[in-house]
Symmetry: C2
Subunit: 214 residues, 2 copies
Amino acid sequence: MSARRGLLIILSSPSGAGKSTLARGLRDWDPTIRFSVSATTRPPRTGEVDGQDYYFVTDETFRRQVKDGEMLEHARVFGNYYGSPREPVARSVEIGQDVLFDIDWQGADQIARSSLREQVLSIFILPPSIHELRRRLIQRGQDSDEVIEARMRKSWDEISHWQGYDYVLVNDDVTETQDRLRAIITAERLRLPRQPGIGRHVTKLQDEFEETAG
Amino acid sequence: MSARRGLLIILSSPSGAGKSTLARGLRDWDPTIRFSVSATTRPPRTGEVDGQDYYFVTDETFRRQVKDGEMLEHARVFGNYYGSPREPVARSVEIGQDVLFDIDWQGADQIARSSLREQVLSIFILPPSIHELRRRLIQRGQDSDEVIEARMRKSWDEISHWQGYDYVLVNDDVTETQDRLRAIITAERLRLPRQPGIGRHVTKLQDEFEETAG
């Protein structure tokens, strides 16, 4: 059994930069990666399932959980609270399971300062252009013009925090971005401090060397 | 033109762990990676070409180059000097060309403390077993038993410095190790501080945002 601790893979981007597609692609590539399900106080949208898309909770519950330290990170966006419950993440890290977070820069920043910071791998996805971002938001057809403009301002706020991430990728070509994400995760899992198995292997080599050196 | 600076990719391993095969595989994968040609005071072996396999120099020349700061790193192994000339490496870094070093832990350690340390990516290749290492050394048929034992002691000395590297890979399966090396190099090139192009892209996005926000 590997004693590797799981990574906290943080994927942030302005909405419309293609993050959801990339996140699904990562799960298809490696089904052992677990998605962190956020808690939120916003009402469910049509088709959203409690415990799968979000944990839908009341304001009161959310505030109590924050107060009791049960949230690894939390933020208020457009009047609603969003947060990542700490317990399931801590458990995954211990058993060596990587957890994927779809959160904004505020959450990324909080996790990067949490007790699990050594496990963090943060990636920011940029759109190829602002026009493209707006086009994708309009194309979704979910929002009024006013909401789209508010989202664009939020997008810019998000983009302006790109410098806090380990990696920043411009999502020009989705296939290339997927390949890059896979390479990054493969490499980060192999970084020396994250591979406790190497120490054991060297001990085995040392035993063999001492035996054969006679 | 990209202003990315080249990486110094250091590949170290005990002899017989498969490093040469892996290095050639990397060049096949990405011919833009340049091999750093070492200078040495040891005499050429049959078939070795000056300026390609090594720069073959006299003791006097080597010592002068070290004294004049022309060596990025150097070490004495089995009575001969080996070193990496600084000038061609510095030039590659400036034009964004990655340089591959096939050097031992002493050289890796010196480069990691040099003025180019920010560009270093160091990888150590471990053999699956000591028996396998010995088998490969014997199979090469180049050396006497005595030389093989000396090489085995040198190998153990090399292995014992594994903890100084960014990545350590056990070369159990050459195809898997190749894939891992490629992922590591792909990822390291994408790390934020190594991508000056991202800053320019964000400036472009900001201009677009300000135009369209009107």
